[in-house]
Amino acid sequence: MSRELRLCAWCLLFVAGEVALYVSYRGHDARFHWFTHFFVGAAAALLAMTVFALWRQRPAPYPLVWVLVGHVLAAAPDLAFIAGVEHQRWMDVFLGHLASHYVPGRNLTWYAAFLATLAGYLVAVDRVEARSRR
C-alpha cells in the first residue's frame, strides 16, 4: 500500500473514532463532554509527542492516532458509564476525567491548553526537521 494511502487510512480511523466517541454521549450536552475530554486527551498526547520528537529526533509517527488514544484515555470512564459503571473519584487517573470539568474557564481553558501544546509540538517538529537537513 502506498504511503499516501496508509496515511489516509489512519486519518479515516481517527475521524471514525472521534465520531464514535461523539455519538456515544447522546444528547446535545455531549458536545460539552466530547470537547473537554478531546482537548485534555489531545493535549496530553501532544505533550507525549513532543517528548518523543525531541528524544528520537523525528516527528511522532501517525500523530492522529496518538490524539485518538489520548482522547479515549481521557474519556474511558464515560465508556464504562455506558456499560453501567458510575463515575468514582479515583477515575481522575484517566487524565483528570472528573476534575477536568471544573477548571475555571471550562472548555475555553482546555482549548487554549490544546493550542499551546499543539504549538509546542510543531515547534519541536520544526527544530527536529531543521537539524536533520544540516
Binding site: G84, Y111, V125
Partner: protein, 170 residues
C-alpha cells in the same frame, strides 16, 4: 526551505485553531433553554458532587420513606413522555417519584407530586439557562439523603443512565 516548512506548520496550527474554535463556538451556542448554563454541572455521573449529600425535603421522603429512589422533575410538556417511558423501563416504579410543575396526574405506578417550585428549590436543582422550572432528577439513598442531582432535558430518553445512578446509590 525552512520558511516553507514553518509556513506549513503555522498553517496546520492556524487551521486547527480555526476549525476547532468554530466547532466549539457552535457547541456553546447550541445550548438549550432547559440545559444547565454551566454544563460542567449537568450529568456529572458521580455521587456526592459539591455540597452533597444533603437532606431531602419531606415532600419527597414521605413518598418513598428511607429507600433508594429517584425523583424526576418535569414540566407539563415532558410529563406524558416520561410516564410513557417509565412503564417499559427497568426502573422499579415503587422507587420513582414524579414531581411535576403545577398539575399532577397519574403516572403509571409512580408517586406524583405537584410542585410550584418549592420542592425543586429544596432539592437544590440548578436554574435552567432559559429560566423557569428545572427539568431533571435527583437520586436519594436509604437515609433520605440526596446523593445526585442534575438537569437533564432529555431524561425520558435516558432512563438507563438514571438506572445506573440509582444502582450506585443502593
Amino acid at each position: 526551505m525552512r520558511t516553507d516548512r514553518r509556513r506549513r506548520l503555522a498553517a496546520v496550527w492556524l487551521g486547527t485553531a480555526v476549525m476547532l474554535g468554530a466547532l466549539l463556538g457552535v457547541a456553546q451556542a447550541s445550548r438549550g433553554p432547559l440545559d444547565d448554563p454551566d454544563q460542567a454541572h449537568q450529568r456529572v455521573g458521580f455521587l456526592d458532587a459539591g455540597p452533597l449529600p444533603a437532606a431531602a425535603p419531606a415532600t419527597i421522603t414521605e413518598a418513598v420513606a428511607a429507600r433508594p429512589a429517584v425523583a424526576f422533575f418535569v414540566r407539563e410538556q415532558q410529563f406524558d413522555a416520561l410516564c410513557d417511558a417509565l412503564a417499559p423501563s427497568s426502573l422499579d416504579l415503587d422507587a420513582v417519584i414524579v414531581v411535576v410543575h403545577r398539575a399532577g396526574e397519574p403516572c403509571g405506578g409512580a408517586a406524583v407530586v405537584a410542585d410550584d417550585g418549592d420542592v425543586a428549590a429544596a432539592v437544590g436543582l440548578r436554574r435552567p439557562a432559559g429560566g423557569g422550572y428545572p427539568v431533571g432528577y435527583a437520586a436519594l439513598d436509604d437515609e433520605d439523603r440526596i446523593r445526585y442531582r442534575t438537569l437533564d432535558p432529555g431524561l425520558a430518553g435516558r432512563l438507563d443512565e438514571v438506572a445506573t445512578i440509582l444502582d450506585a446509590v443502593r
